[in-house]
Symmetry: C2
Subunit: 236 residues, 2 copies
């Protein structure tokens, strides 16, 4: 069995529709590639009680929880404190995080009180390297806390993933059919029954008022996928 | 108090990273515009037990739940049955839905057994009109079940929203600051304290290795927003 995961995206700006999240999709692809099965994505607002409840529900249910957002220097950055509260541990400015952060600024006075908030790390956490803007993320238990800015999030993901144990990478094959899915649904159901170990998804699309279907088969076993692909090609 | 809402996105293809969801962002913007407060987005796989659990948790917690995905004709389309199970009601082909669906096809034989799955409607539900491809969505209690294909989803949203009661639309003003947020965080915290009725968010960005910040204030009260905007402009 592969390790499992959830992503928790934190931010009012996603729920208001102002921001189209891309961090979830980016990390989903990276996790699929290393054999960690993403089972849930949840988006919650910048509200401490809600974050605490979600973190505790998700960390109990999955091998890993990855969070995005709310670890900057401003008043609305409350994720680190919420994570500490979720685990029931203390949080304070930590010397190693302060040193990392200080290396980003030209002058010591640039590291003002608000920026120092970014060096607040819950007790027992290990830092996640941020090559873009220094302010670190952190892992506490099975919860990995990262920034919301996509350039920083994706850099932190690359710092973190080599430290995690993956599983059998999920492979996939796709076949595009220029017919509506309703015309192939019966054959497809028969095929899915014949290959219970392969997950077969049907994704209809509409372009220029024509209906088509992408058929996607997923399995860690490429031999089985090739057998399914050969059958899917006959649907064309 | 405005009505509240959650969006439940159903589909393995989002969790594998194959598909970048856009339905959540689209509906988030539409809900904000009509004064329904979106409090959560959740993405779950095509797994019946998981869908049932999520639907029951979300419909108990929010005024409305909007689902996307899994109501097509293929074997992996299990949402309608899961919704019926979540409510503990029967589901079967319903005559009004069958008639709507039949109007989409040139020949009666095109409405094959698999396509007829799209006329399966839980007892007590009302249909949501689908001007794109006819197969209807449905509302059961406070749960509104719509398609995953974006062109169909957005059309169903426009069919549904006029039937819902909104609240005070959330307004917002944005000010872009070409400085990193750490340099204005203290003034911003003071401003946020002075306007406790206005939600003020700080969204840093990185472009060409330069750090900047979008400051966004949200409130239904445009007079208050204009006061905050004037203050934000002095941060430039």
């Amino acid at each position: 069995m592969n390790p499992t995961a959830a992503i928790l995206l934190i931010g009012d700006e996603i729920l208001s529709g102002r921001t189209q999240d891309t961090n979830g999709n980016h990390l989903a692809k990276r996790l699929t590639a290393i054999g960690i099965d993403l089972r849930e994505i949840r988006v919650v607002p910048d509200d401490s009680a809600t974050i605490i409840e979600a973190v505790n529900a998700l960390r109990a249910a999955y091998t890993h929880v990855f969070t995005s957002g709310g670890i900057g220097p401003t008043h609305d950055d409350i994720t680190a404190d919420a994570i500490a509260a979720a685990f029931g541990v203390n949080i304070d400015v930590r010397e190693d995080a302060r040193a990392v952060l200080a290396s980003h600024y030209d002058s010591p006075t640039d590291l003002n009180d608000m920026r120092l908030r970014m060096a607040r790390i819950p007790d027992g956490a290990s830092l996640i390297d941020n090559p873009v803007s220094k302010a670190p993320g952190f892992s506490l238990g099975n919860v990995h806390v990262m920034a919301g800015v996509p350039a920083v999030f994706t850099a932190m993901v690359e710092s973190l993933l080599p430290t995690l144990t993956g599983g059998a990478p999920m492979r996939s094959v796709s076949v595009r059919i220029d017919r509506p899915e309703g015309s192939i649904a019966a054959e497809l159901a028969t095929l899915a029954e014949a290959f219970p170990d392969v997950s077969i998804g049907s994704y209809p699309f509409v372009t220029h008022d024509r209906f088509g279907t992408n058929l996607v088969a997923r399995s860690p076993d490429m031999t089985r996928l090739k057998q399914v692909e050969a059958r899917l090609l006959t649907f064309r």
